[in-house]
């Protein structure tokens, strides 16, 4: 297992896990989440190719109510 930071929280994921695996483990639908990996936006088709490395920072965002 390796440690990464997701939305500011430390999380462990399997070695070689992809961003799509991460979303799956969090039960998040890739169609309603935008993913930033080490400050770079990762488009949906690339989620299954992008692999996580120790210490990576991932931000998962969506739309919420706002003015």
């Amino acid at each position: 297992m390796i440690e990464v930071v997701v939305n500011g929280e430390r999380r462990t994921v399997p070695v070689d896990a992809t961003l799509l695996d991460l979303l799956g483990s969090l039960q998040l639908d890739p169609r309603v989440v935008v993913v930033e990996h080490n400050r770079q936006i990762v488009r949906r088709p690339e989620l299954e190719r992008a692999r996580l490395a120790p210490g990576d920072a991932v931000e998962l965002v969506h739309f919420v109510g706002g003015g």
Binding site: V34, I41, R43, E59, L60, V61, F63, G65, G66, G67
Partner: protein, 265 residues
């Protein structure tokens, strides 16, 4: 005899190549429930609804996201950069929002002071320049300063959004002269954003000739949000129609409305 009034007819208006029919834009924050929000948005007749970009909660139970309540085919989702205090943060949030895939519009906020939530003008100009160059249609939330508004237009803003009064304050239109002047001088649309508290504020704002108004707290914090949204819809239409009708000149003397002739001795 029946006479049909030849009303001043409003027409749709365009921002960044997109045509809008309702001049009332509404936010989606701070409602007591999503059901209250939906009823208020329906009653407002708004086409443009704003949303914010935030982290997905990871461990909380799966609540329905806001898009469960707002059909993106029916409403034009305008993402904001609320909460951002630097140009870099606002640019980052805008790019994340665009990636959601709905449109390339952004309501750009760069907040310079946490107490008043007034904009950081330097950061706002910088972010507007970068995002406009990157293909965004930037609707820039700004103060009611003409020179800043002119600079934002020159920086590539698709619309300029001067405040009526501070965000969430409900103080109404504090400086009608400034807002009117901004509208006179700019070529891009002017949509007043923030500060409207009740229907008369919205009406007075539209009477200045601006293209539209964005409001959130005035609806969300009303005792009956849907009823207030209905009132705002009427007020925006009334103010717009009064502007198009052209008000009488102000004069500081009384002028009688009834004939002076024909009075009894």
């Amino acid at each position: 005899m029946t006479v049909t009034a030849d009303l001043a007819r409003d027409v749709p208006f365009t921002i960044g190549g997109h045509t809008f029919h309702s001049r009332l834009f509404v936010g989606t924050g701070k409602y007591r429930s999503n059901e209250d929000m939906v009823r208020a948005i329906e009653a407002s007749g708004a086409e443009v609804v704003t949303v914010a970009v935030r982290r997905v909660p990871l461990d909380r139970g799966r609540e329905d996201g806001i898009l469960h309540y707002l059909d993106p085919k029916r409403f034009f989702l305008l993402a904001n950069t609320a909460g951002c205090a630097t140009a870099d943060d606002a640019i980052r949030y805008a790019r994340l929002a665009r990636e959601a895939g709905f449109n390339d519009f952004v309501k750009l906020e760069v907040i310079g002071d946490q107490e008043t939530l007034l904009p950081d003008v330097a950061g706002l100009l910088e972010a507007t320049r970068v995002l406009a160059r990157d293909g965004f249609k930037v609707l820039a939330y700004t103060n009611d300063d003409l020179v800043t508004a002119l600079r934002l237009e020159a920086a590539g803003a698709a619309a300029v959004m001067p405040l009526a009064s501070p965000i969430g304050s409900g103080l109404g239109l504090l400086n009608p002269f400034s807002v009117r002047t901004i509208k006179h001088r700019l070529t891009v649309p002017v949509v007043v954003d923030a500060g409207v508290g009740t229907a008369s504020d919205a009406c007075l704002t539209m009477e200045q000739g601006v293209d539209g108004i964005l409001m959130n707290t005035a609806l969300a914090a009303a005792r009956d949000p849907a009823a207030m949204a209905h009132a705002m819809r009427l007020a925006v239409e009334a103010g717009r129609t009064a502007f198009l009708a052209g008000r009488m000149p102000r004069r500081e003397i009384a002028v009688p409305s009834s004939p002076l002739e024909g009075m009894l001795d």
